[in-house]
Symmetry: C2
Subunit: 203 residues, 2 copies
DNA sequence: TAACATACTAAACACTGTTAATAAAAAAAC
DNA sequence: GTTTTTTTATTAACAGTGTTTAGTATGTTA
């Protein structure tokens, strides 16, 4: 019964190859500038083959999103490993998030700036198993730890976490979309925002 | 020479009609779901006619943007008229901005969540005469007034204004894009963010 | 009435995501 | 070893997109 397994492996391999190519192109040229035909050409298959492995283009987007959330979660965990103070850990995590957005704008756009039009993808995003949920939960748990250690005032970690995320996203999203706006030194802007959010949480 | 003027009026009228239809459809169905053919059908002209009045679809987007920025600027000014304290004025302005985004997500997306791919449109956005520039300048001037009246600490108004804008945008943008995320009560989230930003500026 | 400028449109180009029907290849059954 | 069945991949097509080119009316001027 090794034949079936080998075929399964081959199927999985091609699926992965499609996904990798999609990610590469999305990151390099931006989601809306990548057509299914372009992906197909790159992997040297006909366009319709992709549909045997992914329901549609938005499922490809979803899959790349999940990858991205996973990467983000891992870098969070990595930061947490090398830090003792949860507050410092949280700040480093947020700065890492922002840096990612600035360094990989197209990648960030895929993960945080497209709304999947289809309901089933939205539902998948919300499932507790989704990498997005896990990454957010991790963020919230660090905030909760800050509160538990009384390094933050007694606040609902959910509020603090969502507010922090929004502040970080606001910076990244505007930098990306309004990239020709005469921004003050971005570093200063990031610092000011983070200081504002944190000092209010510590107060 | 009244004929030429009448024709000019007629031209301007049709241009305005196209623009209004475009805005209506963009707001109702979202920019990416509105085709030039759909706009044309609505105004009962052929699709090519639109190109006699607007260079391309992105110029239509730009024009609607300018309208939006102008509306936003006017509501800022209206708020300023009915308020004595610049801090209170600033807060009301920001809340008004956020409310607009929540009430008219498609409209907000057009103005703040699309990057015009073409350079010339980006340049137009940056010109000092553009409504976007004017609206931002107004925001920054209110912040500057807060600093002048020593109701804010001595900070570069540009930094404060951009940081405030980003915080507000972060909330609205995430609410729109991740609209199925289990957000805590939005009102609370908005309050927390604004309090954070303001208390740091007042300190 | 003839020439001209303006306003508009039909047809086409080169794309897009996606589907239905079909061919090729591999595996299973006889 | 040949035939049937299943899996995999492709060709052709549909319905749509933004945009351009070439051509047609129409109202204005000479």
């Amino acid at each position: 019964m090794g034949i079936k397994e080998r075929r399964e492996r081959q199927k999985e391999f091609l699926r992965q190859e499609i996904l990798e190519t999609a990610r590469e192109l999305f990151v390099k040229e931006g989601f809306e500038n990548v057509s299914m035909r372009k992906i197909a050409e790159q992997i040297e298959y006909s366009p319709t083959t992709i549909y045997l492995y992914f329901k549609d283009k938005s499922e490809l987007l979803y899959a790349v999103c999940e990858e991205t959330f996973e990467t983000l979660l891992h870098s969070f965990e990595e930061i947490a490993k090398h830090s003792t103070d949860p507050v410092q850990c949280l700040e480093a995590g947020l700065r890492n998030y922002i840096d990612f957005g600035l360094k990989h704008p197209n990648h960030y756009k895929v993960a945080f700036m497209y709304r999947p039009e289809q309901l089933d993808n939205l539902e998948k995003f919300l499932s507790p198993d989704s990498m997005g949920t896990k990454a957010y939960s991790y963020l919230r748990d660090i905030v909760a730890e800050c509160v538990r250690q009384k390094k933050f005032k007694d606040i609902d970690p959910e509020i603090a976490a969502q507010s922090l995320w929004a502040a970080a996203h606001g910076l990244v999203a505007l930098f990306i979309i309004k990239c020709h706006f005469p921004w003050i030194d971005k570093e200063k802007l990031i610092n000011h925002t983070i200081e504002s959010m944190f000092s209010h949480l510590k107060a």
